[in-house]
Structures are given as structure tokens and as C-alpha cells.
Amino acid sequence: MSVEAGVVKAGQGGQPGWAARRLAGIGAGALDNARAARLLYSIFIRTLYYSVRGRREKGAVLRACYGIGNRSLFFLTAVMGFVGMIMVFHSCTQINRITGDLHLVGATYIQLVVRDFAASVGSMMLATRVGAGIAAEIGSMVVTDQVDALRMCAAEPVDYLIVPRFKASVVMTTVLLVWAMFVMEVSGMLTAWGMFNVNPRIFWNLSMVDFRDLATGLTKCLAFGAAIPIVSGYCGLTTFGGAEGVGWATTRAVVWSCFATILLNFIISTTALYVFWA
């Protein structure tokens, strides 16, 4: 049945046809998405506002730093160490098949890690751990009325719940991702040395890393560190239902945080390309 037929049927029978219902469904979905985008934007702006003008809770940022930073350290070190080993192993294997000259593998690998890989892979790991944690904590506060209780006590939920995590995440994500760069480089160097006999002095070649790579990599660290708590906080604050709702909020937080980091990565990489390398 065509759209036209559906509309005609709607007009004739008094009941909306399938096409009209379909269009209404698409329209409702679009409106829901527009509302969600507006709310996410509102949370972002309020987070920035309360980061400067909000009320400071003693020790809240430090506690969040510990939760986001210290408690992610082992997980991130292990994952990024293995990712570095896998990347160098495959790079060296491929190079050996073509030219067999491995003396620049370290230089190009380190450039790739500093400019992009440590930040993008590491931030997705943090999105799974930190993002899920933030959404679950705030989501369970929503379904048990604790967020409403905060509002009854004149505590703005964005200020009280998201801002400390935002500040902590910007600092600790940057620190963790810089650490992840180092871990990836060391694990890659050891892999190249142990399996392909590449001398560590030759591998540890920083000649291809310059200010532009560092600026791009650090900008990504800061942007991802800011995005994860805002997206996850939004998912937590829009939780509804009981335990199932919290589960969905957690899933949404991981998915949307990862999506946000990939989107930001694209935007920052493209901008850097035009600014630094055009």
C-alpha cells in the first residue's frame, strides 16, 4: 500500500491508515530525539555554568577523582598494554612481509599513539567503566527518589551530581590517557624487541612527534574527559522505571559515550588537519 493510499484510507474511514500511523511514529520519534538533544545541551551548559558558579561540596571532586582515576588505573593499564602489543605485533608482521625494514616502526607507531590511538581507544575503555558507573549511580538515585529529595533541599542535581564528576573526569581522563600513551609505547617497544629484535633505542624514536601531534592528542583527552560524564549523567538523570530502567540507562551511557568520543575524535582530527597540516 502506498503512502497516498494510506492517507486516503485515513480520510475515508475516520481511522488513520498505516502510512499515517507510520508518519506519526516517525514524527514522534523525531520530536523525542529533538527533546533529548535539547536536554543534553541544557545539561552541558548547566554543567559549565555550575563548574564556575556552583556550590562546592567539600571533598566531592577528590572522591570522584579517586573513583574515576585510581580505580580505572589497573584496568586501563592492562587493556592498553595488550592493545599496544597487538598493534606492534601486526605492524611488524606486515612490514616484514613487504620490506623487512623495521627501523621506523617505532617512530610511526608512537606518532599514531600520541596523536590518536591512546586517546580514542583509552577513552572508550573509560566510557565502559566510568560512564556505566556514573549512569548506574545517578539512575538508581532517580528511581529511588533521591534526586527529587536533592531538589527538595535546593540542591540542583546537575550541580551536585554531575559537576564533581565532570571536573574529576576532565583531569583524571587526561592523566589516564597520557599514562595510556606511555603504557602503549612501552608494551609496543617490548613486543618489537622481544619478537622482532628491534632495538629499544631504535624503537623509541620521537622524531616524528611534534607540537601538533601533542596538541591534537591532548585536546582529544580533554574533550573525551568532558564528554563521558555529561553523556552518562544525562543517561542517568533520564532514567525511568526500576532496576530495568537503571540497566537501560547504563547501556545507553556506554553506547552514547562511545559514540560521542568517536564523533568528537572525527571533529577534532578534521579540525587539526585543517589547522595544522592544511
Binding site: T144, D145, Q146, A149, L150, R151, M152, C153, A154, E156
Partner: protein, 245 residues
Amino acid sequence: MIRVVGLRKRFGRKTVLEDVGVDIPAGGLWGLIGPGASGKTVLVKHVAGLLTPDAGRVEVEGQNISAMGEVARQKLRSRFGMLFQQNALFDSLTVAENIAFPLRRLTALDERQIAERVAERLARVGLAGFGDRTPNALSGGQRKRVGIARATVTQSEYLIFDEPTAGLDPVTSQKIFDLLRAEQISRKSTALMISSDVAGLMSVVDRVAMMLRGRLLFEGTRDEALASSDPYVKQFLRGETEGPL
């Protein structure tokens, strides 16, 4: 006075409140009863400005809280104390910190005065010495009492109690009803109370309303409720199994 006019609220496709209107007089204890999922909690959350209606309005002393922005609502909400159905205690804070939280946020009291007020509230609800514990270390009834202490600690003009005696034994329940009534009278506050313990509630309220499937079925004095010929009200107040409910 609190005035509710033509209130309607939907969550998705489910209508939770439909054309609810009532005047709640100042300085009294107003009870709200009704079967589960009849919209009682949603109604009092509208009164506290925690929800925005799809249609209709809530006026507190003539101010339309439903049309206010968040900042203005927050200012008005500071005149309310609320006990939530699930207590809504902050898990990360101790009992004393939970009770002190509204004082720190809403008043200019110093730490010594806050500590005194918290100790007085804890003693009043029979939990003296429990200040250092976390909510997770308390029983359901104890958590409820901490919630009551937090709701009443700021001595608000408006009090909302959502199931203040759920999970408490009959003796403690009656003590809590009497305590809340005494608090309300001593401060001349306006109190709204939802309770499934109909007998206990009826022993302290001035007026009572009954909700059914999102609509206000009855509103009147306690005596009018007890004398009501409405079959729903009669059955619910008497707890009979035979009837329209």
C-alpha cells in the same frame, strides 16, 4: 492555601491524573487515601513542584507553581519538607549528614546549631545515637524515621508525608502519626499525608480525600468521610473485600 485546578498528567500513553481539583486549607492535616497506582504520589509531587502537569495548575498561596521556572520553584520548594515513599535517603551520607543536608542547603545555621538540631530530631524519632550509621545499616522502619527527621528538620510551612508508617509495627505507626500531628499543630504548618494505614491516618487528619484511577473521588472532613455513602469510599475505609473496588 494550596489549590489544585484541573490537573492532568500522562506518562507516555498512561493517564495518571485526570482533571484533579481540590482546595487544601492552610494549617491543617490533609489526608490522601486510595488504592495503589491511583495517582496519590504523582499528585503530591505536583504540589511540591517536582512534576509539571500536562494541563491544569497548582497554586501555593496564589502562586502558580506549575508555570514557574526551576529557579522560582526551587525558592518555593524551600518552604516544603517532604518524606518520600521510599525514604530517598542519600546512601553516601551518614544518618546525621542526611538530616543535616537540608539545613546546610536551606538555612544559615552554623555547624554547632546544625548538630544540635540533628540530635534533637534523632531523639524525637527515637534514633538517638544513630547519627554515625549509614542508611544501609538501618532497618526499613529506622530508615523511615530518619526520613521523617529529615523532612521535619527545617520546620517548613508545608509538609508532605508519603506513606510515613509503611513498614512500621502498629504501635510505632501510631506513635509516628501522633508525632507528625503534634509537629503540624505546634508549627501551624499545612501537612499532606498519604497513608495505606487508613485507621491510623483517620485518627489524626482534619480532612481527607480519596483517589481512584487518577481521579479525585471524594474530599471532605473526617466525619464526612466516615459517613459517606459512596460505595468506593465506604469499602476502602472499612477495608471490606466485597464491593466495587
